[in-house]
Symmetry: D2
Subunit: 393 residues, 4 copies
């Protein structure tokens, strides 16, 4: 029997001396499916896995639905009260894939019960909520990761490597947007994501937070923002929509770069259009998640007299590309869901090796800072003023 | 002998009863070359031309250079003082292709001398200057056009037609940027475009003004802005750079749409990257001027049950596409310089037929309003506040 | 206990009354990994699965390697002689993911032992071998499928639906190629894929066979071919390369269409470049597997007076797109490996429901016909003559 | 008075000591418009021009039409019998922009009258006709150029430079196609291009000849071909269509490369789709004329450990790019018609400087060899056999 972090581990069923870790999950919807798939896939695709996940228990309020999810994904059992997961000694990792209003309390409780925690973004509906979550979880001393999964796209990690290496030189611009279209129809129903009490914010926290996190991960800390918001459809099914349908913002970075961040659910024809471009003194990068495995890379001076400069369409799928040791020969594309495989692999590795979540994984401090920036954007949208960021520590 | 507008016209050398009009031009640089080419090309490509241009006189301060330009483009003569063009009775059209600090005075003088005027953008270095130019030229009663040539890209005109027809429904978003890279190197010299006294502003007035004009032309009037600016290289050749290297802004439209407008000369790898995307309730458009003859068009519901919805790459080169009656069979691309052919054709047609410059041509009021918006962006960048637009009439 | 086809099935561990089926696999390399992943993934992603696969046994000649694969993917056991799988009563499905020279004999043996068989392409190294395999397996009466997995790309299935619906009208052209680059270096080693005895042919059977199969699936039967082949590097590691490095061919279709099919491992920069374009009297389709979830669709006359015709970039990821009910919200891309999930799901469904493998799955007759076409191409390359196809029945 | 070649030249009206040359043109249709535009444009865009063209006379059978063309483009006069141009002493250059059946006789007559000749492609309707034209014109000792204008696309010239420099290494593949759609409709009329007596062949000579010429220009001489042809619509307006609607071919090059060449007028959605890709041992190139100013360039090893390899989208518009010294700042696209400006500039330079037309301009031998290859393709399509090329000298 070995101990890794706070988790008691047995011998892996798969052999190879991999300790096991029990997973307790909150939520069985979109994110629950994505996380469950990741645990099941990493068990053999990232071989040997850092820890062999055992799907112990899954929590959800609708018993029939959660029971079905448990059967489908192979959890040993299910519960309708997440506190039962906290109390379950078999659980070493608490995976919070629930809706935003269930992020803070269960995550804190899990950490305080000694479980490592991975929590979907946004960490909190407000900066205050995110801050408290961070502080209390940090005090508990467990591993804690905020599930900004797009850091784990191979092309995004490659972008980070290129920037860190200095190959782009000084960064001047970040230009990020996350465009979706799913609520354009005025008769689309009043779902929880449109309710401020549950979601915190709208396109901003759901989509914009991803872009904010990527901006911070790739360019650096944000120092000031200006923002406008819009709610194009103000009532749905007789209820007030209390969040933004779209947010446009300008961001200043501490290192002198300046950029724009936009998020909207009203961009007709854009299905899941997360894009960014970064311009530096020596080169540029461009990315569009609808072409997940491509990164556009431009170097100003690849060699003297080179007449063939231009953005290169890099198919991020070579053996020496990030994460690609787990997958297929070059050119055999992987999908969106594998960002979670990489992410949870990183999380389990940090538990196993007792290493830091950051800088490649988003820490709870990263989650808090993204929330702080979202709050500043909402303030700016309300008062029309540029908001300078100040982060609590 | 016929009279069109304020111009005395003789029989065209080319026959076909096309009256002639004498052209006097200020400036022989980049824009002078582009405008000269346009007059020469439209004379036979847009057949019969609305008026047969006679290149009468060209003005410039460097005598050797302006003499060479006159020979090259076939002007009857040249002058080193623009006032000689104003005084030249053979000149019916004054074409101002000079630098920004030579826009107001010569243009006003020409109009007050009874000449029709076409003036390069920006109309003025400030809203005040643009306003005075507009007012005094309007009082003179001549035809006046601000040379926002990108309205005359076939794909842009098609975009306008699609939006006007209602095929995109209610417009939610405009996302425009104009990205260049030519002054990234810190040792690029201190040219006039970097001097506020001459240019008025930097990337904003030079590039951003184009995007602002397209936003107004395609989406509608802008009602408020927030902006940040940056000057990344603050000194060149020992002189202070007194304009913005980059501007990022958020724009609100009177019709409820919201968008971003960005202009920069620090986007490595982007040569002349004017792009925009427009999202509406029924569809979207996307354009990149580096692919001049393409327009991306998305319709939400082309037909019931259609499984093949998506952005269409429309090669704007069909016989029934805008301006295309002048050119080639489908798929035989035209170049950037022909935007000026279309633009000046429009201008000469308005003189010949005594029709309005607007809505397809940019009027001097359009030129003034773009300047007003630029000024508001600079104010916002300075004070950090959202600036509400109010336009003088 | 229920019986499905020739397989005895128990209660699924996952419940939901899904019978189980035992899987015996030959091969643990690239295709073994891809097929293993598919069985594991379909068990919960295609919910409920048609049959719940039980990974019973995996065969390979290198004991250490096959034992590792068994542990990794969770097979109950492993063997070093594939005949042990044939003899294993727990095995209901024989999955042949082995090299080409192990396709015929084990597959025939498995079928004759009453096991359903799925065999990687090419079905045989020659048309004769493929024919015998087809005939003997057919006589055995089991379900048999040739693993042309690219039929199960969502975009490819959508292409088939569009063509079948008549939306492209009469088909004139097919233009298909499969471009890779992995053996350009003359010092790349002499692997089994370059040995005619093991592989049958080179780029032709490995890559070209996929394009041939897609041509037949999408356009119709091929009636004649002309072909040239090249072996650019004739010796590797002191051994003769006995297969083609590249093949170019012209194909006539029975329905009057004409096209080209090309396959090469010498296309620098093309990683896994399977592309095709189909032109018909009413429209066209274009596909590139490096953008797996995109299909370019052009309709000549979407509506009268439509000025916005062009190829549409269809992101094949909508809820009503083929196979997409198993996956994610729109725009969340899936990867190459899921073609196998769809393929094996189709195979297991055919077993469970006793339905036909064709037309959407490739039958062994399809596998044979592809081999017949490959043989004709090699003959044509050798004798310089157009070869008319005649298929055995 | 100066003499250049066989042409008496006076002082240019534009000054700068540029001698003039009189142009006599046959044809006022599509090509006549394109060539006329080129002479007018090069006079000031390529400054100083090698010779200052004087548009002396234009010939056409329809008097009203040719008179209109003369007025429009500024020819001094027109004739309805091309022999009058041959007899006109003012004419130093005979520009044959007429239909294919008027290529040989007038061109030979002009050359034998001492005029330099530029003739549209195909040089002859058959190899025999092209050969005789070449031989007799060569004997006349004048400058002679076959108007394969696509050699003069800046991106194509850049492609040639890259290949000549050895940067692609050994060439393995050429993959060229020219796809149009304009006669898909069965009720499209019976135009001269569909009549073998006038046109020689169909898509092959009209479109395929361009691809053949580019293949020879970029990769090298063609040594053998196999081809299939199709005539999808066999009757139009009650007349037999006597040419191919489409041709598919495989080509062997003398240097060991192998490729495909395709031409069709039945590719729905492809407007003017001339594309090619070239793969070599060190890199690849890809081009699509619908994106005229872009060249895709891939280098296998830009530098050790480079993780960002991929096809570069080179915007061929830099000051040091081919032909670009005549045009605009980077990113300001030029159009298809300027290929003729570059081409005729090259031709006039060869006259002025008494330099060779080749290798960058297509000689009449190049025109003959393209016709020989077309003939071989038609033979192969007829007899089903690979045809080895043998060229007359």
């Amino acid at each position: 029997m070995s101990k890794v972090g706070f988790v008691t581990m047995g011998e892996s069923a798969g052999g190879d001396d991999v300790p096991t870790v029990g997973i307790g999950m909150l939520g069985y919807g979109f994110m629950g499916k994505a996380h469950s798939n990741a645990y099941k896939t990493l068990a053999y695709m990232t071989w040997p896995p850092p820890l062999m996940p055992q799907l112990v228990s899954i929590a959800g309020r609708n018993e029939e639905a959660v029971a079905g999810a448990a059967r489908r994904y192979g959890f040993d059992g299910y519960v309708t009260d997440w506190k039962q997961i906290i109390a379950d000694d078999r659980v070493g990792v608490f995976d919070n894939s629930g809706p935003n209003n269930f992020h803070a309390e269960p995550t804190i409780a899990a950490a305080e019960a000694g479980k490592h925690v991975i929590c979907e973004k946004p960490l909190g509906r407000t900066a205050d909520e995110a801050y408290e979550t961070w502080q209390r979880v940090q005090a508990a001393g467990v591993k804690a990761m905020c599930a900004f999964n797009y850091r784990f796209v191979p092309a995004v990690r490659l972008a980070r490597m290129i920037i860190e290496s200095g190959e782009l030189g000084e960064i001047f611009h970040f230009r990020g947007s996350y465009l979706q279209e799913w609520i354009i129809d005025a008769d689309f129903p009043m779902v929880w994501r449109l309710d401020k009490d549950v979601a915190g914010s709208g396109a901003l926290g759901d989509l914009g937070a991803h872009v904010i996190d990527l901006a911070r991960y790739l360019v650096g800390e944000i120092s000031a923002v200006s923002a406008h918001t819009r709610t194009f459809v103000k009532n749905r099914e007789g209820q007030a929509v209390t969040v933004d349908d779209a947010v446009e913002s300008i961001v200043d970075f501490e290192n002198g770069a300046v950029g724009t961040i936009e998020a909207t659910r009203f961009a007709s024809g854009r299905k899941n259009g997360l894009t960014f471009e970064i311009n530096g003194s020596k080169g540029s990068l461009s990315f569009d998640i609808e072409r997940l495995n491509e990164l556009q890379v431009h170097y100003r001076d690849s060699k003297p007299g080179d007449l063939a400069q231009g953005f290169r369409t890099v198919l991020v799928s070579e053996a020496d590309h990030p994460f690609w040791e787990h997958w297929w020969p070059q050119g055999h594309m992987i999908g969106w869901e594998h960002t979670f495989v990489h992410e949870i692999h990183h999380f389990l590795s940090a538990i196993r090796e007792d290493t830091e979540i950051g800088p490649h994984g988003a820490t709870f401090e990263d989650g808090y800072r993204a929330a702080e920036i979202c709050d500043a954007m909402l303030r700016s949208a309300g008062n029309g003023a540029r908001e300078t960021l100040s982060y609590r520590s």
